[in-house]
Amino acid sequence: MESRGYSNMNKKIKMLNICLTLILVASLSMNYNGIEASASTDWSGYAIYRDGVLGNLNDHAGLMDEPDISYYKPVIHAPGIGNGVIWDSWDNFLNGNNYIGIYRPKNATMTSTLQDSFVSKARELKNAGLSYNILDQIVYDAGSDTWVRPEHISHIRCDGVVEYVYEWYGYRVGGPDDEWDITRNLTANYWEHSGFFITPRKQH
């Protein structure tokens, strides 16, 4: 009797182990999918978001500078006060939070030429010596010029990187019909990209 009970227990543990193995495989593949599924496409120039700026109160935005996350510093983003716009690693972009997804402007066909444009413009922001700003997506002085160029900007918020790059090329991200273009040097357009009229979470 005891021997049969021991054998039954052993069988149950083995069954449990098989089940646990299956759960482990499924769990690993779920983690893998979120990144792998999109890694097969060229992410250059796509907007990326992650959640969880503490307590999940807001998201964080960036732009892909490289085709996938395996590249050295594939992200271009404005992470916070200590940095301006920088190239960064995927792990630093996530900062222990959850990846949400990649996005492109609704009306854009992401050809390699357009992706090159987005990436080049984001790099111009990286090189413009910018600081982080909480209140407004961008802070600038473009004098009497019609358009706001990267060299006019002094401060930027993380969602400002995505907003500025896409809207420079005429792809609307946020803002009302008449004041959506953040690159237009008008007070109304400035205010429409201020506070939380637009935030990283509202962008996607």
Binding site: I13, L20, I23, G55, N58, I81, G129
Partner: protein, 352 residues
């Protein structure tokens, strides 16, 4: 059975670790303090938090802003402060200007609150001379100082002094303001730097490249332009700082000069992203070259440029060339027109 139980335990731990990276564990540990402070807002979005905060006293809001800023990673989590900053800004009428300055000078104030209060002070038409004094205050964060220069109407002479007195990023902020307010004075002081053999910081170099690019973008060549351009090309070869190098190329690309654009496009040391920036900035110059200054050599160059970064707005003028006897059998021209049709993007005409 013992072995089976060990395997069971290993599997359970493997499942637990497969869902949580070591990085997440580290962050959870680091985030404890801010999580406690912010836990009452879980489930609320930024707008809901903002509404709650607008009903609180300015003292309570300031206290909480400080607490949150102290607890978060300023390098990574700043967007959490957006609703608090907006709510604080709405209370600007309850602050006197002296009160704002006094809080900014408080050593316990972090850079996020500092910059929010500077913007509040600006919106209340504060005295810029008081802000000018903060530029010399070592306790004030450098980003706040940049904001002071970037958002106030200092005179051209004051901006010139900021440039001369600062070898750090404040020199860049000063030139960005000066170049849109007094282009000539801007050119005068940056030419002094660029023509001198005296060594300056990389920040001062970057500021000077931004200023000189703007000048030659809006003004015609003068007798020192070629000297400066050659010095910039040499600096590009010599300097190891990527930001300096990139700004040299942006500056050169702004000069509306076909020979300089040829240097950029034909250089093997300049990468494609920088070339794309230079092409987009010179789209009008390329179109004008086809319309007014076309030769075998110039056409060949324009076609090379379009193979690198095709822009459809140039195709009309290229198609017109196919009716020109001189170019009608040019295979590269016909191939490039077809390439642009298939791969070209719409041009951006925002460069003045």
């Amino acid at each position: 059975m013992k072995n089976s139980l060990i395997i069971t335990l290993i599997l359970v731990f493997a499942i637990l670790f497969s869902n949580t990276s070591p990085g997440v564990y580290g962050e959870n540990f680091k985030k404890n303090k801010s999580d406690v402070i912010l836990s009452k807002y879980i489930g609320k979005d930024a707008k809901e938090i903002y509404k709650i905060k607008t009903n609180e006293s300015k003292e309570a809001l300031l206290k909480e802003f400080k607490e949150i800023e102290e607890s978060i990673n300023l390098d990574r989590d700043m967007t959490v402060l957006i609703p608090f900053a907006v709510a604080l800004m709405e209370k600007k009428d309850s602050f006197t200007n002296d009160e704002i300055l006094s809080i900014i000078k408080d050593e316990d104030v972090g850079p996020g609150l500092e910059s929010t209060l500077i913007q509040m002070y600006n919106r209340k038409n504060g005295n810029k001379n008081e802000l000018k004094k903060l530029l010399k205050d070592n306790k004030i964060d450098i980003n706040t100082k940049k904001l002071i220069i970037g958002t106030n109407s200092f005179s051209a002479k004051e901006l010139k002094n900021f440039f001369k007195e600062n070898d750090n990023v404040l020199a860049i902020s000063a030139i960005k303001k000066l170049m849109v307010n007094d282009l000539e004075l801007n050119s005068e002081i940056v030419k002094e730097v660029l023509l001198s053999s005296q060594k300056v910081t990389d920040e001062k170099l970057i500021a000077s490249y931004i200023g000189i690019g703007e000048y030659y973008n809006k003004k015609k060549s003068d007798n020192v332009k070629n000297i400066i351009v050659e010095k910039m090309k040499n600096e590009f070869k010599r300097n190891k700082n990527e930001m300096v190098k990139d700004n040299i190329i942006y500056s050169l690309a702004k000069m509306n000069d076909l020979n300089i654009l040829k240097y950029i496009i034909n250089s093997k040391d300049i990468d494609k992203e920088l070339k794309v920036s230079a092409i987009e900035r010179n789209l009008v110059l390329l179109i004008e070259t086809i319309q007014n200054d076309i030769s075998e050599e110039n056409l060949d160059f324009v076609l090379d440029v379009m193979q690198l970064h095709p822009i459809i707005d140039i195709n009309n003028d290229l198609k017109k060339l196919t009716t020109n006897y001189q170019f009608s059998n040019n295979k590269k021209l016909l191939d490039t027109i077809s390439y642009i049709e298939k791969n070209g993007i719409k041009g951006v005409f925002k460069y003045e």
